[in-house]
């Protein structure tokens, strides 16, 4: 059993935290969700969402996974899973480089705030989101925003795809190596397509 600790050493959350373990084999990505989430797996979590949104921070364009950037995997996921994307403003240049122009642009803190409003119709105006997937924000900022959502957006499930454990999310990897991360991202991408 891997002991799951928050990425930042003192990042102790509270009673309700994501918890569980992660396996290395394809297709077996599992982090037991936050209490109350049941044991829904990642792919299920995404597939069952009616209106998921992927929120991409600027670090996604900086961080290498294998020979690509984290951002590339995220865009692949968005496409395969048909997930709308909100990029934080400073992430946008990297999207444009990739000719990706479908993303909404909004600062992370504004996204967080609006998600707490159950009446917010989303950046696409298509109605409230029910799953917010975060990736590529500075770890500590992502953590505070996820905490805000945990407490004040009970109607939304949260997921993070960073390779660091975020106890405030419903689904989070533990602190995993680049290799594990790659395999698991790939597995999730495959799974949402299924």
């Amino acid at each position: 059993m891997t002991i799951i600790e928050p990425r930042q050493i003192a990042g102790v959350a509270g009673p309700e935290t994501a918890s569980g373990s992660i396996r290395r084999a394809k297709h077996s990505v599992r982090i037991i969700g936050r209490r109350g989430m049941g044991s829904m797996g990642w792919g299920d979590g995404i597939r069952k969402a009616k209106h998921p949104v992927l929120i991409i921070g600027h670090r996604a364009a900086e961080i290498d996974i294998d020979d690509k950037k984290m951002l590339d995997y995220l865009l692949e996921l968005a496409q395969k899973g048909n997930i709308s994307v909100i990029a934080t403003p400073h992430t946008n240049p990297a999207l444009l480089e990739r000719d990706y122009t479908k993303a909404g642009i909004m600062p992370a803190i504004e996204i967080g705030h609006r998600l707490t409003d159950p009446d917010w119709k989303g950046i696409d105006g298509k109605g409230p989101y029910d799953l917010a997937i975060f990736a590529g924000l500075p770890n500590y900022m992502e953590s505070t925003i996820l905490s805000g959502l945990k407490h004040f957006a009970p109607q939304i499930r949260t997921m993070t795809l960073d390779n660091t454990y975020q106890p405030h999310a419903c689904w989070s990897f533990s602190n995993i190596s680049g290799r594990d991360w790659l395999e698991n991202l790939k597995a999730i991408i495959e799974h949402v397509e299924d």
């Binding site: 509270g14 009673p15 403003p89 444009l96 803190i109 705030h113 924000l137 407490h151 004040f152 190596s177």
Partner: protein, 785 residues
């Protein structure tokens, strides 16, 4: 508080001992005979006096709480789990708890400035007398204390007058603090209102502190040409005995400088400083040198350069004594607030203290009389320096390599990185160092916040921080910069010149870089932002740690921001007002624009002035590395005036933002003062407290937040130009919310007309009018038709 002033008038008294006619004695009251301004509605406002104004702001700018902890443990009923808005044993819920925690921080911050002010005032009264006149800028500064006038409704003339102000502040702080007790305030918005009150109190406290010290110590008085002084670790002449002063209370530093002058040693001993004490020391004597902001403390000490360390109060590392012992530098604590367990030697003869420090019998001493510190510090420094200089404290390259080799990162250790607030990749840099390549370690030096948490956690006990500093030794020596020392207040004449352009929008904004150095990527970003906005002819203000960071970078021409741009409060100026307490001059400038340019009555008239500032003065505060409780209270003071503040990503740890909702049209109506109509003005300014993910995001947001309902079409066009231009440059596109900021076709910047018009059409934009904006219905002027 009741009015304790006494006014004894005797028209005629005939008694056994004699006869008096027309005797008048006023005590504890201000001689305000020559201040004809009418008293406003809220002099010395109580905790709830401005609650209605606060509610207006808070209705627009909703708190978004970001709990840093799921539970509360303030009392022994705890810990209480507040997850998901569960209530604690006292009935509190999470949002209320978060706002309470913020209030606590703001109270601590305001108490810190206020007690600092109290000490300065008490000390200066003892030395210069209660009747010593305040003077913050001679004839150039008619409104000597805009915040005191505004809040307290009095016009202080002497040091003694400041004492009544301080009584009020201490009283209010006691009340505010009491509201955080278990089972007091039960509503989060009322807590937020109290936060704003604490911020206002803090601004008064800061103003008191700075005008007192400016008035008596010959600091630059509202001087745009305040001297350029030396900045950086490289500016120290390490051959001389070096004294380091750290903190915020300049009194001991002044005594050191005076003693050196007295003994004609000014050129023989280096006086170097960190944090605001450093700025104030250079305000007192431009020979003093500023090392850097708070995050420079540990690196400078570890460098081994200082021979004696003198600490006063605030933002001093709690392990400063331990670190001083490590480099064998004698240590002098000087504040009641920070005694560090040291023996109080205040009443001992200087000879004995110096002897004990020099011999090492006492590694440190406590001296609570600032006027005794100079002699002890200087004599000790001179005595220990020769011996100390003989041995260095940094690690030679080979030792760095050897240490690096015992790192166990190959086993996925990584705890150093996980402990680092900025998640810097220390393991990788250590790996490289183990191979003799220090480049990555030096890169870490640049982004490092100087906290040493990495070193604290390393299971191999590798002295990581010393290694970083040692690897960067050469770089440190090259840190030679310039900073214009704190000029103090803004002149009335400057306000007269720029008031119009600011309120009309011709000057695109006033951007104030303030606060601490908990930067996400090092201080250089602050310098870059300052330069960018100065280049774009915003008025740029700086203070505190940010003022230092602003100077610690040279552009392509090899010049620092302060060398590139003038120190005057004008378009394209970079105005270092001074230490943290000088922040009061920045908000004070906004207030003075309302009063001097806008001709709004100032005295005890907070609400109207804040409404003016909020709707007309395109000012934005930026606290890129905001860290402390003081920063929390300073920001709150800006908010109550309706001035937005942008922080870096660490700022989310303050636990809540104050965010507008551009998408909710109903939030953005103002009254037109002239007609009484409600007019939609768009989300200006969009947020009151905003944390940006990156510098780039901050810059675009700053430009956007400078817009105000009152902008003329020309002004709005200018502001939009910068907003759109920055957005395009940094994010690659034009913003998708332009339609919210264009009121009439004339608002559209000519150069961008085509593009923007397209957007407006797409969005179904409709023209609206430009009102004489106010949030206050009682500000509506019944037009006589």
């Amino acid at each position: 508080m009741t009015d304790k002033g006494i006014n004894l008038k005797i028209r005629e008294l005939q008694s056994d001992i004699g006869k008096i006619k027309d005797l008048e004695i006023s005590i504890g009251k201000f001689r305000q005979d020559n201040w004809t301004e009418l008293q406003g509605p809220t002099p010395f406002p109580s905790m709830t006096a401005l609650r209605n104004w606060d509610k207006k702001l808070l209705a627009r700018y909703q708190p978004f709480y970001l709990p840093f902890s799921d539970h509360c443990d303030l009392c022994t009923y705890g810990k209480c789990d507040l997850t998901g808005n569960k209530r604690g044993a006292c009935g509190i819920n999470m949002s209320t708890q978060q706002s309470r925690t913020y209030l606590l921080a703001a109270c601590i911050g305001a108490a810190t400035h206020t007690s600092h002010a109290r000490e300065l005032v008490t000390h200066t009264i003892q030395k210069f007398g209660s009747d010593h006149l305040l003077d913050t800028g001679g004839l150039a500064v008619g409104v000597e204390a805009p915040t005191i006038r505004l809040v307290c409704g009095i016009k202080p003339e002497t040091l003694g007058d400041l004492e009544t102000v301080l009584d009020y502040l201490e009283n209010q702080l006691t009340q505010l603090l009491s509201a955080t007790h278990t089972g007091q305030e039960g509503n989060h918005l009322d807590f937020e209102s109290k936060v704003l009150h604490a911020g206002m109190i803090d601004q008064v406290g800061m103003e008191v502190a700075d005008i007192a010290q400016i008035s008596v110590f010959g600091f630059p008085k509202a001087d745009p040409d305040a001297p350029l002084v030396e900045l950086g670790m490289g500016v120290v002449d390490t051959k001389k005995p070096v004294i380091l002063v750290i903190g915020h209370n300049v009194l001991p530093a002044i005594n050191i400088i005076d003693y050196l002058k007295d003994k004609r040693l000014s050129d023989e001993v280096e006086v170097t400083g960190i944090c605001c004490t450093a700025i104030d020391a250079t305000r007192y004597s431009p020979k003093a040198k500023i090392i850097g902001p708070m995050s420079w403390q540990l690196r400078y000490i570890r460098s081994g350069i200082p021979d004696v360390i003198v600490v006063d109060e605030q933002c001093i590392r709690c392990d400063s004594l331990i670190e001083a012992e490590r480099i064998r530098a004698p240590f002098i604590a000087t504040s009641e607030k920070n005694c560090l367990g040291l023996t109080d030697r205040t009443r001992d003869p200087a000879d004995e203290i110096v002897a004990d420090l020099v011999s090492g019998k006492a590694p440190g001493v406590l001296i609570l009389d600032p006027d005794k510190v100079g002699e002890v510090a200087v004599r000790t420094a001179c005595a220990v320096a020769p011996e100390r200089k003989k041995s260095g404290t940094l690690l030679p390259s080979q030792e760095i390599i050897d240490y690096a080799k015992i790192c166990t990162q190959s086993n996925m250790c990584l705890v150093c990185q996980r402990a680092c607030p900025n998640e810097l990749n220390i393991p990788e840099s250590i790996k490289a160092a183990g191979q003799g390549n220090f480049r990555k370690l030096i890169d870490i030096y640049d982004e490092c916040a100087g906290c040493a948490r990495c070193e604290q956690v390393c299971p191999q006990e590798i002295p990581l921080y010393t290694m970083i500093v040692s690897a960067a030794a050469q770089k440190m020596r090259e840190e030679t910069f310039k900073i214009r020392t704190g000029r103090g207040a803004i002149q009335d004449t400057e306000i007269r010149k720029v008031g119009g352009p600011i309120v009309l929008g011709d000057i695109p904004g006033v951007v104030a870089f303030v606060g601490c150095s908990n930067y996400p990527k090092g201080g250089q970003e602050v310098a870059e932002m300052c330069m960018e906005f100065a280049k774009r002819r915003y008025i740029v203000c700086t203070s505190g740690c940010s003022a230092m960071s602003a100077g610690m970078y040279r552009n392509e021409e090899g010049k620092t921001a302060y060398e590139m741009y003038p120190g005057s409060f004008e378009a394209g100026g970079i105005v270092n007002v001074g230490p943290c307490v000088a922040n009061a001059h920045i908000s004070g400038a906004a207030v003075k624009i309302a009063s001097i340019f806008g001709r709004r009555p100032l005295r005890g008239n907070y609400e109207e002035i804040a409404d003016y500032v909020h709707n007309r003065v395109g000012a934005v505060g930026v606290a890129w590395g905001a860290m402390s409780q003081k920063a929390a209270s300073i920001m709150s003071g800006f908010w109550r005036l309706g001035i937005p503040v942008v922080v870096g990503p660490h700022g989310t740890k303050y636990r809540r933002m104050l965010l507008g909702r551009a998408d909710r049209e109903q939030d953005w109506y103002v009254h037109d003062r002239r007609t009484g109509e409600k007019v939609y003005v768009g989300p200006v300014p969009e947020h009151l407290f905003f944390a940006a993910e990156t510098k780039e995001e901050a810059m675009v947001m700053i430009a956007k937040l400078c817009m105000r309902p009152n902008d003329t079409v020309k002004g709005r066009a200018t502001k939009l130009t910068h907003y759109i231009d920055l957005h395009r440059k940094l994010f690659g596109t034009i913003p998708d919310d332009i339609h919210l900021f264009v009121r009439t076709a004339m608002d559209v910047p000519v150069t961008m007309k085509g593009e923007i018009t397209r957007v407006l059409e797409e969005r179904g934009w409709k023209e609206t009018i430009i009102p004489d904006p106010t949030l206050l219905s009682h500000q509506i002027i019944k037009k006589e038709l």
